[in-house]
Amino acid sequence: MSFRGSEGQIHPTTPPLSEPSGWHDISLTVNGEPVSAQVESRLLLTDFLRHRLRLTGTHVGCEQGSCGACSVLLDGVAVRSCLTLAVQANGRDLRTVEGLAGPDEPLTALQQAFHEQHGMQCGFCTPGFLMSLAGLAEHGGTPSSDELDEHLAGNFCRCTGYVNIRKAARQAFGLPGPEEASRG
């Protein structure tokens, strides 16, 4: 069997038949492209994306839902992919950070804001922040500054990038920047 990554390559797999957890055929849309694969019951959606589809933009932080680095959009809604089984994504529409703008496309306004404000330090948390905010942009209407901060609280930046991340988020949502005195 085989499945296609979003870049269109065919990745062959040979699922070990001795695996006791059972295998499941799943079909879903990943960044607009149809994907079919066979996955074992216990495979996390994060690991499916990273190891099977080679979409390594989705990061693995805590694997318990705390850090938000693995945030993706499932049917347009931001969720933790480490707290979702790959088999649960069967039939769903999945979007990852790779789906925001293709390699030859201009950055989205959200990505551009993070670029301009340097909304990062090491960058590990960045895909999660972008996907959480992408979900908010699609479903949250126009958030207030407080609502935006509450939304950002679901993602951890461990090297104190919050000041610039908050600036970037405010720019992306057309809100005035955080006050000089506020600290991340």
Binding site: E19, G22, S41, G65, L83, L85, Q88, G135, L136
Partner: protein, 286 residues
Amino acid sequence: MKPAPFDYVAARSVEHAVELLAGGTDAKVIAGGQSLMPVLNMRLGRPELVVDIGRLDVLNHVRISDSGALLVGATATQAQVLAHPDVNRGWPLLATAVANIGHPQIRNRGTICGSLAHNDPAAELPATAIVLDATLRIQSSRRIRTVPAEQMFVGPFMTALTPDELLVEAEFPPPPAGAGWSFREFATRPGDFATVGVAVQLVRRDGVVADARLVLFGVGGSAARVHSAEEALTGSSPSRVEDQVRAQLKAELDPADDVHASAGLRRDLAEKLTIDAIAEAWARCA
């Protein structure tokens, strides 16, 4: 970490789900997975079978019953409940409690019933179900039964559910007319599990408390009413019996030390949060 191996079945119907649960394997139910997946990832639990009810649209409802109660089906997410206009209007304590759960990304998948069935001692929803006198509808291949929330939560991560039973719906009756409420919790960071939390509902009649419901969580094995404090409040105005309420809390609460807080800090927080919550609920009484 990654989960230990298990079999997975997406249930086709409620009947199919309870049939799978009755099959004799060590099975766990998954809907949104926001309680179960951390348990599996950390290998705190190693079920043989995971039964996914997440695709059962028949359980995906947030609606008002003919008797005016709020019905929340097993696959309805916390985000769905928060977005329902009647919830904010009719069950503001529930809306406030749900807003305190995790983060938006968690609430987008986490369900009300899943949190109730998991019964983390620091979770918001068991306390909320008790204070609002919710009823839980439970189904198995043998029978359908209802359990009052007060009898549901028997210990940390333990409920009245037997292994073959599925929590299919939570029913929140309308709060008494004019009831005042408060929901307060202390957490190190917003979105964390509460170190200590409290939910209060008071009914005022003739200038005194006619009915009091006071539930604390994070201070013991499971969320529970503090009956002695409720009795101290009943028939009085709260400010007159503040010392008695404090004394009852001191006598009844027996929190443990853990990495998040010492027992002493939990006691202090419980007292402070409870006194503030009673005052807030009293001020909200019509």
